[in-house]
Amino acid sequence: MVCPLAVPCYVGAAVYIAALSSGGMLGFIGSTLGLRPGWFNGFWASALVLVIFTYPLAYLPIRAGLRRVDRAPYEAARLLGRSPVGALRVGVLPQMRSSLVTGGLLVALYTLGEFGAVSMLRCNTFTRVIWIQYESAFDRTGAALSGLALAALIGLALLLGRWLNGPAVDRKGGAGIRPLRWRLGRKRTPLVLLLLLVLVMGVALPVASLLEWSARLGSGFDPVAVLGGAGSNTLLLACTAALVVPALALPVARLGARHRGPVSTVIERLARVGYGLPGIVVGLSLVFIGLRVAPALYQSWSMMIVGYVVLFLALGVGPVRSGFERMSTSMDEAARTLGAGRMARLRSVLLPALRPGLLSAFLLVFISTAKELPCTLLLSPAGTHTLSTRVWQYTDEAMYAEASLPALLLLLLSACMVGILIWREDLLERSAA
């Protein structure tokens, strides 16, 4: 069910635009209904695409939350005379609260900052307006003001999330939980079909449509010339970012896990704010900074890496920090009493504990960087293309066949990474059990 996460939203939007265009796989829908060409755009189209491709963001925390639901409160409520629905409200919902809020907040933040899909579908949001103001009208002040407004909106969403989340409750940990399970019975088939529909819309349809368009490519198109450069640029940028970010995350995570205090809290919160900011806002502010402060860095690769660090530092800090937290201090002390010096302890205690965290930080940052569009678009040197900017450019010019190749490559790349991530997570859970 997490597979659609591997499809960047703007690729999803491009797929649906191409498939529903008069020449596409689903072109018959428009023609039988007698709709004008290009009917698939605007608010509802954007909403549909965003729902299909961002639901895994909510799905993951909510699934984790469901697994931690203990059946005791539900059963107690039933025995005290509540109906099944009433018991769910009293005994289960409170346990689900924080994961529901987290899932909702993730989707809300993502949608607020989403740029590629809404722009392609011509739905006026802050991000699209900022881009038009900046790119077409070259109205930097207007763009900056819109950016500020968007940032304020995001701040508001974060505050709302905090308020909805309520005070932290100490919950029972993994082993002691007796989960609440129900037999689906006759409802099983329709539910499975519903899930299949989601998968078809989120995975099968995009892949099929992309393959179909790419098969239509004329012989005049040289994939190696166009995609070779973009592909290697994407790989190089994503690798660099995925190495730099975890390296910077190490000290932040250590500070957060070992020395709790105002300084570590502020740094960690800053990292999280960067993650919450839309790529277009970060990109734009780095353009301003580049022009004013460091013209030498403007439109350079190092500036792009800075942008990725601002955007994705939080992705690196999370898993590395949980690695630090998993490592009990008594483990380090045990190594000391057994005569291990600093280096031996690093090798035998610290690295094994941190390795999974570092690996998932690398993968997460790699995927996010490869998929990232607005910041890349704003900061990339003139003439430099990545897979994501190629998809954007070709879709913008209605060259769907040409867009399908970089989109497929991007899908392949992020599918590999998501695959490794899921596989490793399994591995981690198994070894912890």
Binding site: S328, E333, T337, L338, G339, A340, P352, S431
Partner: protein
């Protein structure tokens, strides 16, 4: 041999250890007994070098490891083994690798590991990882790992706390056997009095950061220095009384009390030293009787209303409401009234 002199330690403004001194001969198993939060774990960590004392000296064998003049040998140079409460086994290493971790001399490692695995009966489990072992097996790995570098002193911090009551006794016997076979001096911390009494060569009782009493378990049990030590070591009764002319007078009748200061005092009698005696002058009414299988515990009220518990090791259960004659058999203690 290990020696602590006048150890003081406080965390912030709370004093955790005050004026603690102790000695333990080579090869002995010392047990630190005390309620949770009395400072026993801190004391152990001080000896290991994981904490530094504010004042006082620690000597292990002939070597001063912490003391005045800012002597503070770091834990990795103390040659002290430590078995942690959560065991802290390295999860990514096999049993064998865990046990061999602390052996510095690479050429001797294989032999040493072999000997330790054999001693702890772990040879068959050598290539398992910690999460594939039962609680008792993990325990044995932790002890074998701590013993492998041949430490001068082994410290065990509530090593059996995480085990079921059933398994506990067996693992405890096994660990004591390993310690004795290795001939290592050891200090173990516990808050379980039966555990402490049954395995200690030298029992040390700690209450609120002070070492209140130390000695062979039998003598500490029979002659506690005050009521808190007495109550910590087992079920018993406190009865108010007065010493006059070398005799203690209380609701339990007259008892010899030579060499005790005259005046008000508290008599302490263990439940098993209260016995039925139909010809005795002192009588009591049975209020309740709880059956424990191997014995029973009766709650009695003396004529003046004083409550008393009596352990019945024979199978006779007195009826509730009946009246019994009582006498004191064996030891009792007299404390000045505080």
């Amino acid at each position: 041999m290990i020696e602590l002199r006048d150890i003081h330690k406080s965390f912030g403004s709370t004093s955790v250890l005050e004026d603690v001194s102790l000695e333990l001969p080579k090869g002995a198993l010392g047990v630190l007994l005390g309620p949770s939060g009395c400072g026993k774990t801190t004391l152990l960590r001080l000896v290991a070098g994981l904490e530094a004392p504010d004042r006082g000296a620690v000597r292990i064998g002939e070597r001063q490891v912490s003391g005045p003049g800012r002597i503070g040998v770091p834990p990795e140079a103390r040659n002290v083994g430590f078995v942690f409460q959560d065991l802290a086994l390295f999860p990514q290493m096999t049993v064998e690798e865990n046990v061999g971790f602390g052996v510095r001399d690479a050429s001797a490692r294989a032999d040493r590991v072999e000997a330790m695995l054999e001693l702890a009966r772990l040879t068959a489990l050598r290539s398992r990882r910690p999460h594939e072992l039962s609680g008792g097996e993990q325990q044995r790995v932790a002890v074998a790992r701590a013993l492998a570098p041949a430490p001068d002193l082994l410290l065990l911090d509530e090593p059996f706390a995480s085990l079921d009551a059933d398994l506990r006794g067996r693992v405890r016997e096994e660990i004591v056997r390993i310690l004795k076979a290795a001939g290592t001096t050891a200090i173990m911390v516990t808050h379980d009095r039966e555990e402490a009494l049954s395995i200690a060569d030298h029992l040390m009782v700690m209450i609120s950061g002070r070492l209140v009493q130390a000695g062979p378990p039998r003598s500490v049990y029979d002659e506690p220095v005050d009521r808190s030590v007495a109550m910590l070591l087992g079920e018993g009764n406190l009865v108010e009384g007065t010493v006059r002319n070398g005799e203690l007078q209380s609701a339990l009748g007259r008892l010899p009390a030579a060499d005790r200061p005259e005046g008000p005092c508290t008599l302490f009698v263990r439940s098993e030293n209260v016995c039925r005696c139909d010809t005795a002058e002192v009588t009591a009414t049975v209020l309740d009787c709880a059956f424990y299988g191997h014995d029973a515990l009766a709650l009695l009220a003396l004529e003046d209303g004083t409550r008393l518990s009596m352990r019945l090791s024979d199978q006779s259960m007195p009826a509730v409401g009946s009246t019994l004659g009582l006498r004191i058999h064996g030891g009792y203690s007299i404390f000045a009234r505080s």
